[in-house]
Structures are given as C-alpha cells and as structure tokens.
Symmetry: C2
C-alpha cells in the first residue's frame, strides 16, 4: 500500500493531517450544561496532556454553555452533535473549534448549507463520524454491517459537503471490533485524502480496551494512517490520554518523555525485578526527563541488551551492577540498588 497523504485542517492552534503531529484527544463524560464540572474535567485532562477535547451537545442548553466553557479552557473544543442543525449553528456562534456532525443526518439541503456556511465563516472543520453500529438501513441491507457499508456511508456524507465546496473535513469510521476497524480505515484511505480521526469504539474496560485500541490504532499509524486519535475506554479519561500517548510513543510518532526497558524475569534473575521496575517507572514518570533506563534481571545479558541505555542495572546474587552505555560503573548491594540508580539518573539529567 502506498503511504497515505492527507490534506490538512486546522483545529484551534493545531494543524491536523499531512506530516503534522498526531494529536491525542478525549471526550468529557460530564453533563455539558454543567459548565463548572465540565471545565474542571477539561483542566484536569489538559494537565494530563489532552490536546483536543470533545463534549456532547444534546440540547440547546448544552449549546449555550459552549462559550462559557471555551473561555475557561486552553485546548481546542469540539462539539458532538446529532441531527439538529440549530445546535450546530449555536455552538459555532459560541466559538467551538470543530463540529462533529454527519451532514446526511441534518435534513434539507438548506439546513446543511446553513451549517457549512457558518463553518466556512469561522474557518472551522467538520468531522464526519461513522460508527459501524449505526449505519443506514439500505447500506446494511446491501453490504451487511461491514467496512464496505461504513465506507460507503462516509462517502455519502463527504459528497454532501464537497457539493457545497466544503473541504475542511475529518473522518472517523469506528467499529467495536479490531479487524473491521482496521479494514474500514484502510478502505477509506484508498477513497479519500482527508485527515482521519482514529478510534475503536466501545472498546471496553481498560484491560481489553487498551489492547484493542493499541492493535487497531497502532496498525494504522504504523502504516501511515491517522491525524488524530481518541482511545475509547470504559475507564478514567486520563487513562485514555495515557494509552493514546503510549501508542504513539511506542511507534516513534510522539517524543518519549523517558524510556525504560526491563526484562521479563527468568530463572537467571535473583533480585526483585518487578518491584524494582515499577519503582523506577514511577520515579521516571515524576522526573519527566528524556532519559533511557534499563532494568535487567541478570548480568549475562543485562549490560549487553541494555547497552543503548543511558543508565542501567543488572541483577546478580544479592547484588547488582550499575552500567552506563553498556559499561559497568559499579557493583552495589541489593538493598542499595534503587537508591544508587536514582542517584545516577539524577546525575545524568542534570
């Protein structure tokens, strides 16, 4: 498959698509009409590196709240709207940075045109959001609940906007299962060149949801598809953000704050490696510096396999060696391993 080259849209300060950074977003689970609670949640997500935030706008009261929310937050705000064009017009008036609405569900051409004209005037994009679980009846009849049906559905909405000469479009095409999700985005990428918003919908609890999102989003990003992503988990929103970054960092698409490699323990390991790795990871999360650390179980493979690390530790019998770039610095007693590692890391980042 040839590399997917997408057009670029602007969402607040961010350019999405093309060769721009893939941005990590989430969606509030507060009642949007409750401005205070929604702002509080968004500010917390900002601190956790959320870059774009979406809120549900199910009624006019929620639409009116957008302006007040927008004023109190620092990241681009997206309104999620179903069917009602008046809600779209209101959130645009209130200063939203992107609207998620499917033009084919708005109604008459006049209504669609009103929304499109408002977006054009404010220079904000529309995301077409397709869910494998909510496809049009005629498409389901023709293709079943398949990637093909979802892509055809997306293209219908795209054509409506293109007919009105509107090209500030993003598209998502989510399924709750990984294989159709991957297939749908790949099929879509052959038909359009708009920036794609990636996600596995209703992926589940943090355990299985993390795995499904990592495989689905990961497979597409690895193949060059994706301008922004939302990891969907039935769990804390901060975890969605954390998983999103971890996927992108694992694929070298966002800069790692730090890196830690560690062994699976094996019969050669004679120290408490799991405890040491978890302590070290927590220390590094807090330290927040670009350092590469290896936490290895044995001296046989440790310094060699960890030789790319700025600093590393390899366990032995009641003791461990501390090494840097593969060269052994010192030997320490087991009880002093973490303390010494911490000291050596602090030296490096200074």
């Amino acid at each position: 498959m040839k590399k997917y080259k997408s057009s670029v849209v602007k969402v607040g300060p961010y350019l999405l698509g093309g060769n721009n950074l893939i941005r990590v977003q989430s969606m509030c689970d507060t009642d949007t009409r409750d401005v205070k609670a929604t702002v509080k949640q968004i500010l917390k997500l900002e601190k956790n590196r959320c870059e774009i935030i979406r809120v549900a706008v199910p009624d006019m009261e929620a639409a009116y709240a957008i302006g007040a929310i927008k004023k109190q937050i620092n990241i681009p705000l997206v309104a999620d709207i179903h069917f009602d064009y008046k809600l779209a017009l209101e959130v645009i008036k209130q200063g939203v940075d992107k609207v998620r609405i499917n033009p084919g569900n708005i109604g008459s051409e006049e209504k669609v045109k009103a929304v499109v004209d408002a977006c054009k005037a404010k220079n904000i994009p529309i995301r077409i959001g397709i869910n494998g679980g909510s496809l049009e009846k005629d498409l389901l009849k023709k293709y079943g609940q398949t990637p093909k049906a979802a892509v055809e559905s997306a293209l219908r909405h795209v054509r409506i906007l293109e007919k009105l000469d509107f090209k500030d479009i993003l598209i998502s095409i989510k399924f709750s299962e990984v294989p159709p999700m991957i297939e749908a985005y790949k099929l879509l990428a052959e038909k359009v060149n708009y920036p794609l918003h990636l996600g596995v919908t209703h992926a589940g609890t943090p355990f299985i949801g993390t795995i499904k999102n990592a495989i689905g989003i990961g497979a597409l990003v690895e193949q060059g598809i994706g301008a922004t992503l939302r990891v969907s988990l039935t769990g804390p929103l901060t975890e969605e953000i954390r998983v999103g970054y971890a996927i992108l960092e694992s694929l070298g698409k966002r800069e790692k704050r730090f890196e830690m490699i560690s062994c699976p323990t094996c019969g050669r390991c004679e120290i408490d490696l799991i405890g040491l790795a978890e302590k070290t990871e927590k220390f590094l999360e807090k330290l927040n510096k670009p350092v590469k650390v290896a936490v290895m179980g044995c001296v046989v493979n440790g310094p060699g396999e960890g030789k790319e690390a700025d600093i590393g530790v390899a366990g032995g019998h009641g003791k461990a060696v501390i090494f840097a770039k593969g060269k052994i610095l010192k030997t320490v007693a087991e009880k002093d391993i973490f303390k010494t590692l911490e000291e050596e890391i602090n030296k490096i980042v200074k």
Copy 2:
C-alpha cells in the same frame, strides 16, 4: 505484501505454523534446578491457559531437572540454552519438546551436528532466537543495531541448520522497540518460510509492555505472520498469557470465551457505567461462556450500537433498559441493573 505461508513444526501435541492456531507461551521465572517450584509455577500457568512453557537451562543441574519437571506437567516444555551443546544434548535426552539455541554460537561443526542429530532422533524442533540487543559484532559494524543486521544474523543460524539438512526450525527476531521489531519480522518473512515466534523483548511493565506487545504482535498477526507468541512483561506471568490471548482474540485468531462491548462514558450517560462494566466483565470471566454482552451508557445509541449483542443494557435517568439483539426486553431501576443483567445472561447460556 503477499500472505506469509510457513512450514509446520511439531511441539509436543501442537502443530505450529501453516494454518494452525497461534499458540500462547510463557517462560518460567523460577530456578529450573528447583523442580518443585518450577512445576508449581507451570501448573498455575496451565490453569491460566498457557500452552507452551520455556525454562532457562544455564547449567547441567538445570538440564538434569528437565526430566522430573516434564513428568509432572501437561504442556510442552522448551529449554532455553546459550552456547553449551552439552546442555542441549542433556535436555533432549531428558525429553524436552523444543530447544531454543542459536547454532552459530555452539562452536565446532561436530558439536552442532551432535545437537542436530539428537533433535532429529527425537523429532523435536530448534528455535533460533535473535535479540536486537545481542547481535554479532561484524553485523553491528556493517548495519548498526538494525532489523537488517538481525535478519542477517538469523539467516546465518538458519544456513548452519539447513546445511545439516535440518528444517524443523522456528525463528524469533525480537527488539525492545516496536518499529524495528515489526520491520525485522517482515523482512525475515520475505527471506524464509519457517514458523515465526513473535515477541517484543524487554517490553517493560504491564502498562507499557501490554501496549508495545499489542501493537507489535498485533500488526504482524494482522498481516498473517506468526505461529506462536510470547508476550514479555516485567510482571506476573499469568498476565503475559492473558495479554497474549487478548491480542489473538481481538484479531479473531483465537475464539473468544466471551465478548463485552461497552461505551466510553459521555455527557449522555446517567448511570455508573464504569462500575457496571467492570462488574459485568468479572462475572463473564468467571462464567466462561461464549456470550456477547453490551454495556452502554445511553438509550440514544445503546440498543442500536449494541444490536449484535446477545444481551445488553443501556443506561437512562435512574434506570436502564435491558435489550437482546437490539430489541428492548424490559426497563429496570438503576439498583437492579446488574442483578437483572446477570439473570438474563444466565438464562441465555443455559
């Protein structure tokens, strides 16, 4: 890329490669010489669906222990050996089901031939295990620590075995980073047709390790590569198995025991969805029946997006609807949601 078609090898009762099921394995972190502890760990892993188990064999005492371990367990046993051909000969004598050893590191041709002849006589395969962190110096000089160097290293070992007319080969080619890992396996798959053992080595703690393994193993399995896998985590071994199955199940490569889809919560959700999803998931893990359940936050999208589910629940204001195959069965008060869902699931699986 054309679909990878691999040859087939036999490990205990399992055929690996070709169109056979991808098998999930792990590696003991006990001292192999401690037969009792090792057997205890393996029996626990068997209960957690581990299908193949590997143990480190660093010395002759560990090699002698293989027979006693083998007698007390029910899954195929693999010996992990570095350099020493005498250890290989001993574990083969002791009845091991597969040997992981790199023939290029054994020494003289006679020694390699002795190991190969012993494997042939017992009809057991050899896994060549390449780690990006332990490559030959001349290859590092020529290619750097790259997928190309790792593939060239693997091919050297392969040629040694092929020269001795030995083809019962599996190959792994692990890196601790996802992009070179994916690239190395893909490159290797263009050069050989042996069954491939997948893994990201030293992937890290359960959080980041799960994500790295899911992306790396997932991307390859999705493209048809992989005969067996070992998820490597610095964490409990049972978690390695759980993640391994979750990856394969997410890609439709192993049968799901059960399936649960659930919403990310959003502004429309008025019940405790996270709590409900986690309770339901635990119930389903224990129930262990092939049922598909949807746990959805709102009646707007719930029954529609969950219409593939055998049974589902969609939250409302202080209450919820229970639905089956998209049709609403009944409305229940919030406090009765889980109890009713449990009852309805029990009815279905009966």
